[in-house]
Symmetry: C2
Amino acid sequence: MTVAVRHALKIAYDGTKFSGSQRQPEVRTVDGECIFVLRKIGAIRDAKDSRYQSASRTDAGVSAAGNVIAFDSAMTNRALLGAFNSRARDVWAWRVASVPDDFNPRRAKQRWYRYHLPGRLDVERAGTAARLFEGRHDFRWFTRAKMDTIRILDSVQAIRRSDFICLDVKGQSFLWGMVRRIASCVESYCLGEITLDDIERALAGEKQDFGLAPPQPLVLVEVEHGIEFERMYSGKVEEEISSRLDVSRLDFARWSLIASALDIDETKFVARPPKHDND
Amino acid sequence: MTVAVRHALKIAYDGTKFSGSQRQPEVRTVDGECIFVLRKIGAIRDAKDSRYQSASRTDAGVSAAGNVIAFDSAMTNRALLGAFNSRARDVWAWRVASVPDDFNPRRAKQRWYRYHLPGRLDVERAGTAARLFEGRHDFRWFTRAKMDTIRILDSVQAIRRSDFICLDVKGQSFLWGMVRRIASCVESYCLGEITLDDIERALAGEKQDFGLAPPQPLVLVEVEHGIEFERMYSGKVEEEISSRLDVSRLDFARWSLIASALDIDETKFVARPPKHDND
């Protein structure tokens, strides 16, 4: 009998196709899909038995380039990656590692989230607000979590990437809704709706609600555990991601052309994140 | 009783949501949607009675910024546009005109199509091939139509627009599949698969099959009739188009980020149009 060893898979997924990452009955979730596929391919018997865990829980609509899942399996790395990708839909495993038996992906060294804010915002102004969040703070007004709301953010930066201002937020651990609340707050500051002082007072513990930005612009870029992942070539993954990229590029070009023919003034209609709490 | 007068509507549509423009039983088409909506809002009794016509037939997957439909209706311009847009899905009417009773939108002065070719092609080279199609030619090897294959193209140009080489083709009238066959031919030339001489021989009547490029990259930009259209403000149209544009821009940014995290070499996987005839 082959002995099960602990494996980690680095996965990317399209968050718009799932009702979040965490398993729930009756709805399609990222963990649900991964566990279904791992069972189908004979990599695990069930989630509990294999000690299935994922590094970061992401909300419905939030995508990932590099979340990490871990589980015990007797399959080899290469067989695992190939079989997983042949079955999985809207999730792609692109790196694999054999890890120590006590590896828990939730204990990460760093998580990196990117939030896509509208490109018409001032990047300098976004950066000024972003920097206030760096370091150790009490984030109680940036989450609905009630306990243990102290977190340390390693860096919070605003950079321009094509049509967006990207808010890159890096830290070891995050509270529920935290990045989307920081994003909403930074956008509000860029729009002149709030002051730097308002943000500082919230971080000092004074009650504030800056709203929750929508989930679709958020991507979990990377979770770092300080372990060596092995990259294995998977033609299907590269073809599928390339194809999604091609389709989305063309969609964007077509809508740009139609909007320009109709002479639509985009800036008038840019959606603002909801100001009220609904997470 | 109000007398029905002839109206023209300029419409944009998302071709990926329809099985082409021409009415067919059992499937969703652009004309089917327009006629359904015009009946629902009481603008027409039926297609025949109202002498419903559209300027250009487009294949499944082909979008439009400015196709034109015409029909007889007793409604006023303003009421027509508002009621149409409140009901229509994936089609937007954005200009309206009262036209002479004998107005037939098929008799256009000029049609302008844009085909989105991959941006990695050489724009100079694309332009060189494109220019061969300008003027009066026998396009029998650029269509499956069997008769009357002489057409005059006013201009065929290649321009770079963000991530694409856009092939802008303008002429009074077109044959079935003609723009997609010209696009496939220009791409083949850019890729060094055929020579300018091959294209010239096809235009001189010698049998050639350059293949049919896929429909999604094709947009009917504008049909010109030399009539004055009235632009009327429709908040719903602008909001819907802006929202589609926003969603597609974000999708593109998300897939770009994921592809870049996975270090996917895009150029390896760029889809080539099918080389065989399947229209």
